[in-house]
Symmetry: C2
Subunit: 704 residues, 2 copies
């Protein structure tokens, strides 16, 4: 009888910046036991991809892993796949960076296993047709995508048993579709069900591919017990071995040789179905679900369902401006790196840049880590390290003092960048003249990387979330778990991004709590509207001057007010000087309550090593919603990261601070994440008509 | 009051290879009168794009056009847009070619008008995000897309009044959405309706863009009378002028200065809605229409309709293999061109290559010209000219004799190419060992460029097609006209591509007519199945040897038969030698009726200068469905193109020939098009078991 050919691929990945203890745990519960079971079944072949950061870690820490894998490669049981070393989203990085990411992992595999990988794992299967050229010219012959990609291009399920060829600019690679049925069967259903599934397909010669996350075999909820303790994997391999007369197990490379291509194909930009939905704005996610429901009522719903999809990966950058800011910083540094000469390229800045391309922190779905501050922080750390290395090449050992005006975030409006050896400031005049990034360069930290609290389509499910523990063995997409009670109390939505130096006017009666809850009434039109700007550069000093002719509500009237704010950076100095000026342009004097907002991404809300200290020696903690009146200075201590930020003012101010928490979904269920410390510095003042009221303060960064 | 800003863009285009008389007519009825009316209205501003081939033609032939346009540019009334010189589909050509196409048109405009264009028209608005870098690095600041593109990315209609910024690899351009409402209003509804439409939008400051085909103003059915004779355009311009207190007319460049960008956007690969549907396989077009109907029954249908779309442009190449063959020939030559040194690049081969990138012949919808043989022929002529120039650089004046094995069509299987100074042959071993291209290089003709007769979704409408004449002023998408009666008689569908040297076995009783109608029963498994191959190269000769172990039906049994066919090309010789061998591998002798099919793309079915001449001096014509028995030679004369093709055989054969007609839609309605001359050369023979039966013939090309 015509038989089944089966390719079984495994993709193991840990993001740059993940905690060692997490990786160690995954190694013990999944990566190692999988190989150990495989060793017992010499007829079984697996194609394995380890992303570079993880692969390096495993080889360094676990000689046994290298030994076992080498043995299996030697026996012909394992095909190793290449990929982007730090698992970047390929369409989101430059052509040159794509090639370098692949070549680095290929070389790593060759160096460690004397083995030349022919194919690659495409990170998150994020596909755009234009990447083909870079893949092919990096020596890649094939990659693996979801069947979703192929169905979107108009193929039927019957046409998915095999592989296709595609091209861009005449460069070709082969594409294998992953079987969705197998993705849901393995390892969640009894092993024999997969064999039954294969049996039903016998009759024509058919090639079937499963390629899926290795963490499904031991780390996903309930799977360690299922796969190893209850013996799922041994049983599966046993059944495959017993049926090897009609189920032929191949590596991808062997399948390429055995079967001819099914022909030319062009695939639309896509990823797996779920990710394309995650990339939609939440209102559209809801509309898409409604649309699916309408089709599901039709008898021939499969005919129509294939037309429905979300959007492509790049829209995560539109959905999450914080991801875009990070991405465009990376792109900007990539452009700087691309001007380096060959010898410099393989050197430090390029290495840091590539690490900063690790995809995880740039998006969010179930797995995407945008909501995880430690992952974003790892990206920024690498970006800042890359920039420091580039600055060394550009400026040598001289003290840096740079002022730049460019559309770094690519929104069509100019941003301002001011940088010295100690600090780098990124300002959006078009968005309230806010500072959207402050790098404390000595620590390679972007200390303002705080997420806006925004509505996510899945927030609607929080109310119906169940207690943990009852859903073992289910697909992650089916699980609804809340890791904490009363999460709905934290569903606060901000009306603007959580940048710094954001200008507010409050009405009498506003409290720290109402400001924290974003349920106060804004009285001015300054917070997110455009500021004019100019730049002053003196020998040892740079100053960005921001001005807006705006208004504030005074009783029933919207009265004119000009705000100027100057941001000054001095050569070699680790402080920022802020000089505000307020000019009442109306026909009358009025009282105003002005506040300037800062948001600092300092982790661990409950860590007592992190606090705010006041002149009277008292302290408050990051977890508090706290008010302190009539102070002229305060200091934020972070004894964990080892630095402090001191604020000093020329008049007494009111300090409010509160934690910024988001609620997001993750593999483990819904969770609350501390994104940063929100601060409002405010004062109440009578603004005399046509008079200028000045307000200045200083922010000083010091290592502890 | 907050007013309306209006940008009015016009795109004029004629494909490479279009007939001069057609262009002259369009000039008189549209391009010139439009400018003449514009001259009368100094307050009206228009942004104009002429594709390069047309622009060159107009400037050369009509000094008045240049004069008028220069005057309007001088007055600031006209902004000229750049684009791809020969109007290529940008995602379908290489990055370097994209840049060269743009730079050529920009330079042409600068040279002729001392004017630097800042924006460009994107051919057919075919968008992929990856093209941004090449556009930006060619000096382009903006382009114009359909609102469809923006709605697909999740924007609401309200968000379309303005322009957006986008980027790829850090390179940015601005994108203007075209208003679909305006596209349907202008010039099809009363001018005042557009003013009313604008009036309804007053209240916020809004930018509206119309950019559409110039041919809508005078050439589309009924529009000359409407736009000029009945005075639509004058009235429209008069109304705009009278309302200039609240309707500000801007060029694109002025709009860029006046309005800030609405922010960053990423647009999915798209074109206008209709084109995305045309690119679908016909069954999917029908399913998509059903899906639209399901949504249209919903109250809030607009919420859902936006999720439905066809597929992206590249799928035309999968839908029409003939388009793909042409495209991949072009890509292959582009790769050869890209290796040229700079001085040679701007020379002839590159110029021919760029002409061969003109989009029209590569796809089909209402406007797409794949079904028009003269447009395909123009592409092939330029491809062959480019290749001849490249060969001159590679081989100098030496006689060429090349044999190559490569996957030129990128379907994952190798093709064979044999070429001498006179002829080039392209063979697909994987597809019946068929010849899919024969170039008669002296005439720069691909004489085998015949289309398969295939089902198109719109064929379902042919039955309900109306007589012409009653639908003036309607959008082209609404018109259903048959240019000829009884078109349904020509709805014949082929089961394979119309290549040459395709092997058939016929059953007794098959007639020329039934073969023409593709309603015979194929008795072998040779026609489209794979042949093994080998290549022999001697000093003055190359031979491609094709072999298949196949079967034929003899009564109720499928008996084994080996076919070998050798294709020989001799240095400096303009003939092809074909040597067949048939080996009956069964247990018994049997009778077989073998035929080899050729398809020649020789235009004009009814031209009496084109005929087939037999040894007895008789003739038959391309329009005939004709049989001639027991001949050992025949000659195809094309006195128009000026060459003949002589066939001589070593045994008497039966010749069948018949016209290959397609039925397709066009601007003017459904039409029948003569794609080529179909030929079947056959003989009946007893194949003795285990004996080889040889059959040879020669095909000689001679210029008249």
């Amino acid at each position: 009888m015509k038989g089944i050919s089966f390719v079984f691929g495994i993709h193991n990945h840990q993001p740059v910046g993940n905690f060692d203890f997490v990786i160690d745990d995954v190694y013990r519960r999944s990566y190692l036991p999988f190989l150990e079971v495989l060793r017992e079944f010499p007829k079984i072949k697996i194609s394995i991809h380890n992303s570079g950061y993880l692969f390096e870690y495993l080889l360094k820490k676990y000689p046994k892993y290298k030994e076992t894998l080498s043995e299996l490669v030697g026996r012909g049981q394992v095909e190793i796949l290449s990929g982007g070393f730090y698992e970047p989203i390929f369409p989101a990085i430059s052509g040159k960076d794509r090639r370098n990411q692949i070549l680095k992992l290929t070389k790593f595999i060759e160096d460690n296993f004397s083995y030349h990988p022919k194919g690659m794992w495409l990170s998150e299967r994020v596909w755009e047709q234009g990447i083909v050229k870079d893949l092919a010219s990096s020596g890649i012959e094939f990659t693996i995508l979801d069947d979703e990609h192929f169905l979107l291009s108009g193929l039927s399920h019957e046409e998915l048993y095999g592989y296709y060829s595609t091209e861009h600019e005449g460069y070709s690679i082969s594409l294998f579709p992953i079987s969705k049925e197998l993705r849901y069967l393995i390892p969640f259903k009894e092993p024999k069900e997969t064999i039954e599934f294969f049996k039903d397909l016998v009759g024509k010669e058919r090639l079937l591919v499963l390629a899926d996350d290795g963490e499904k075999f031991g780390v996903w909820p309930g799977t360690y017990s299922l796969v190893y303790e209850k013996g799922w994997l041994r049983e599966f391999f046993t059944l495959l071995t017993e049926n090897s007369d009609w189920i032929e197990i191949l590596t991808f490379s062997e399948a390429l040789k055995k079967f001819p291509s099914r022909g030319l194909i062009y695939l639309p930009e896509a990823s797996y179905k779920e990710m394309m939905e995650w990339a939609l704005p939440p209102e559209l996610t809801i509309e898409l679900q409604e649309a699916e429901e309408i089709f599901s009522r039709e008898e021939k719903y499969a005919r129509y369902m294939k037309f429905l999809r979300g959007t492509f990966w790049r829209n995560f950058l539109v959905k999450y401006e914080e991801a875009n800011n990070m991405h465009k910083r990376m792109i900007d540094l990539s452009q700087r790196c691309s001007t380096l000469k060959d010898a410099e390229e393989i050197s430090l800045p390029y290495e840091y840049l590539m690490r900063a391309q690790a995809n995880d922190a740039y998006w969010h779905g179930v797995f995407g880590g945008l909501y995880l501050p430690h992952l974003r922080s790892a990206i920024y750390r690498n970006l800042i390290e890359a920039e420091k290395e580039l600055d060394k090449i550009s400026y040598g050992n001289e003290d840096v003092l740079v002022i730049e005006e460019k559309d770094i975030d690519k929104d069509g409006k100019k941003e301002l960048i001011a940088k010295n050896q100690e600090l780098a400031l990124f300002i959006k005049p078009s968005y309230g003249g806010a500072i959207f990034e402050i790098d404390y360069r000595k620590k390679s930290l972007n200390i303002t990387d705080t997420l806006k609290r925004r509505f996510e389509a899945y927030h609607k499910k929080i109310q119906i979330a169940q207690a943990p523990g009852k859903e073992e063995g289910k697909s992650i997409h089916e699980i609804v778990i809340a890791k904490e009670k009363n999460l709905e109390n934290y569903l606060i939505y901000d009306w603007h991004n959580k940048y710094s130096l954001m200008d507010h006017f409050l009405k009498e009666g506003t409290t720290c709590d109402s400001f924290y809850r974003s349920s106060y009434g804004e009285q001015g039109d300054f917070t997110i509207l455009p500021y004019d700007y100019s730049m002053i550069e003196e020998q040892d000093l740079i100053r960005l001057s921001l001005k807006r002719k705006g208004h504030i509500w005074v009783k029933e009237e919207f009265l004119p007010l000009d705000i100027g704010k100057d941001v000054t950076l001095i050569k070699g100095d680790s402080s920022i000087r802020i000089d505000y000026s307020f000019e009442n342009k109306s026909f009358m004097d009025y009282n105003a309550w002005f506040g300037t907002e800062f948001n600092f991404s300092l982790f661990e809300r409950e860590n007592k090593e992190k606090y705010i200290e006041y002149p009277d020696g008292s302290r408050s903690y990051f977890d508090d919603i706290s008010e302190k009146k009539d102070i002229e200075e305060f200091v934020i201590f972070d004894n964990v990261l080892g630095f402090k930020i001191g604020f000093t003012f020329d008049i007494p101010i009111i300090l409010w601070h509160y934690p910024i928490d988001t609620v997001s979904q993750s593999e483990g269920g819904f969770e609350r994440t501390f994104q940063g410390l929100g601060i409002l510095i405010s004062f109440k003042q009578l603004f005399i008509k046509n008079e200028i009221f000045p307000f200045s303060f200083n922010i000083k960064f010091e290592t502890l």
